[in-house]
């Protein structure tokens, strides 16, 4: 059971954003999608998660064809959080997270549902502000509240577009460790779009590298974190250092 993407293309107003992408995202573990701006990373994620209709091709998630499967069934299988999340309404953190249970409870939460909600709140360090309104939080706290919501959805597949958005260093590291724990201890399949190649290198099992709407490389961090590979993706030379067994790209100078 994997995420299978077959010959997926998508264009907006004559402009091709995704060009015949095919890949298999393995079951379990963390897969990071990297690539320069405009490579089609977010588009790929929103097509896999049926937020946007496929242009052509097919996607199946855990054996479910996303075009033909009931949306609520899909919502119990995979959760997606996009990059820009603007909430115009006032909801408390606890209410927001509780809506993650909607596909399961249909609005009538059981004791187990509520327990899952509290657990997600605790995982994201949100307990002290659980009764605050989301619009009263800082950007980083808000981002964590949204992630707690998709976590409460308790799905096998978790798709996150730039989950480190708005998070400081401490919370970024905590977020990646949490995702690692979800993958290792609970067998979740996590797909993230990340900009920082070093987070991708240190925490993922698989890296997908995209450029100009195409998938150009797929492999383990060790395979992708090579100077030649990264030049191919980003058009710049990135020195690779090995620190404590992790391959770190130095691209600041």
């Amino acid at each position: 059971m994997t995420i299978a993407v077959r010959n997926v293309s998508k264009s907006y107003g004559g402009q091709t954003v995704l060009d015949d992408v095919s890949c298999e995202i393995p079951q379990g573990g963390i897969t990071s999608i990297i690539g320069p701006n405009g490579a089609g990373k977010s588009t790929l994620l929103s097509l896999i998660s049926r937020l946007q209709p496929l242009g052509s091709g097919a996607v199946s998630v855990g054996g479910l064809d996303i075009a033909s499967t009931d949306s609520r069934r899909l919502a119990r299988t995979m959760a997606i959080l996009r990059q820009e999340n603007h909430l115009t309404m006032r909801l408390t953190v606890r209410d927001l997270v509780a809506f993650g249970r909607f596909p399961h409870s249909g609005g009538r939460p059981t004791v187990e549902d509520l327990a899952t909600v509290e657990e997600a709140i605790a995982h994201l360090d949100l307990a002290p502000m659980a009764d605050k309104f989301v619009d009263e939080l800082s950007g980083g706290q808000r981002q964590r509240a949204f992630i707690a919501m998709v976590l409460a959805q308790d799905t096998q597949y978790l798709l996150l577009d730039e989950p480190l958005n708005n998070l400081d260093m401490k919370h970024s590291v905590e977020m990646m460790r949490l995702l690692r724990r979800l993958a290792d201890d609970f067998g979740k399949t996590i797909v993230i779009v990340v900009h920082d190649i070093n987070f991708a290198s240190c925490y993922s099992d698989t890296i997908l590298a995209m450029k100009d709407g195409r998938l150009i490389h797929q492999g383990s961090p060790r395979q992708i974190m090579q100077q030649a590979m990264l030049r191919d993706v980003y058009d710049i030379d990135i020195r690779i250092e090995e620190i404590d067994g992790n391959r770190i790209g130095v691209y600041f100078t």
């Binding site: 929103s46 998660s49 049926r50 937020l51 009931d70 949306s71 609520r72 069934r73 899909l74 919502a75 119990r76 959760a79 997606i80 959080l81 996009r82 999340n85 603007h86 909430l87 115009t88 309404m89 006032r90 909801l91 408390t92 606890r94 209410d95 809506f99 993650g100 909607f102 596909p103 609005g107 004791v111 187990e112 509520l114 327990a115 899952t116 509290e118 657990e119 997600a120 995982h123 309104f133 998709v150 976590l151 959805q153 308790d154 979800l182 609970f186 979740k188």
Partner: protein, 335 residues
């Protein structure tokens, strides 16, 4: 993440109990206010005379006072709830059915029936008004989808412009057919004409509010936006259509029976949102209660301020609503 153990949910249930107790207390207060309002008016209706069974008093009470109070309560609740749902659908706090073209479209609908079939029963007028309200609101939402960016100010402005255009068309035809006088009856809400036999269609809005309450979670989810809605496995377009139907029907029914009730759908949901937030499960009952209370108070003021004459409730609401709205905006800026 698996569930470790079902932990006790004491805080949630306690706050829920407190919430229901608060709602019950507010409902009692509104009912008391409603009961009191039945003894305000030109003809003297006193409780002793009523209890003594004085024929004239009993007649006025059942033919005029009770229907009027019921109409105030129903219209107040429904218009406020329609405003709340409209704000969630447009994802903007500064819209309500009377600022996005819904009410103007309903008025145009009534005018069209009045011109084409002057003898049509009120139910037919209401149906045509509903159809027009649906079309007008759908047009507004369609324009919203095509706006390049979701600008907070642009959305209400587009609504006001659309409403202005529809109102201009309505006024033009009302002028041509010499119906301007009749038109103002629908444009300015007034409960003084409410009598037994002339308000009962308003009960339709009670059913619509119930639907809104039952679908509260769906509307809350839809209010988070299309992506969140799809992620949670809900059909966004279908939820929007349901909201569109509720908002349009409530507006059309209220306009045909008592006329337009301005500001209510704007002010009340904003006040409720500040205090209780926008989780519709909580917000719908509170919005309904606040809406009823607001119209009741305005109606009582309208009946007493120039006693023994009456000022249309729509006028009182415009003044009071505008003041409240200003206070809200200024408070938000200071916060």
């Amino acid at each position: 993440m698996t569930i470790t153990a079902a932990r006790p949910q004491a805080p949630a249930t306690r706050s829920q109990a407190r919430h229901y107790a608060g709602l019950a207390a507010a409902a009692v207060a509104v009912l008391a206010l409603a009961a009191g309002s039945m003894f305000v008016g030109v003809s003297d209706v006193s409780l002793p005379a009523l209890l003594a069974g004085d024929a004239g008093t009993v007649d006025i009470f059942w033919i005029s006072r009770v229907p009027r109070t019921l109409a105030v309560l129903l219209a107040g609740m429904a218009v406020a709830v329609a405003g709340l749902i409209m704000q969630l659908m447009a994802r903007n706090r500064f819209v309500e059915p009377s600022t996005v073209g819904t009410v103007e479209s309903a008025t145009l609908g009534i005018l069209v029936v009045t011109v084409l079939a002057p003898g049509a029963p009120i139910l037919a007028k209401m149906l045509v008004a509903s159809a027009f309200a649906l079309l007008g609101t759908a047009l507004f939402l369609a324009i919203l989808r095509r706006l390049p960016a979701r600008n907070t100010l642009l959305i209400p402005l587009v609504g006001i412009m659309l409403g202005g255009i529809i109102a201009a068309v309505t006024t033009f035809f009302a002028y041509r057919y010499d119906l301007l006088q009749t038109l103002s009856n629908w444009m300015i809400g007034d409960f003084s004409g409410v009598l037994r036999g002339r308000y009962e269609l308003l009960w339709i809005v009670a059913a619509l509010m119930l639907v809104g309450l039952l679908a509260a979670d769906r509307f809350t989810v839809a209010g988070m936006g299309q992506d969140f809605t799809t992620n949670l496995g809900l059909n966004y377009a279908r939820t929007m259509r349901l909201g569109l139907l509720i908002v349009s029907l409530i507006s059309a029914v209220v306009v045909t029976t008592v006329g337009a009730v301005p500001f209510l759908g704007l002010v009340v949901p904003n006040i409720v949102s500040l205090i209780f937030g926008d989780n519709l499960r909580r917000a719908v009952p509170w919005t309904a209660l606040f809406g009823a209370a607001f119209v009741l108070i305005c109606d009582i003021i309208g009946r007493t301020i120039r006693y023994p004459y009456e000022v249309p409730v729509g006028m009182v609401m415009s003044v009071l609503g505008a003041i409240l709205f200003l206070v809200l905006i200024l408070r938000k800026r200071n916060a």
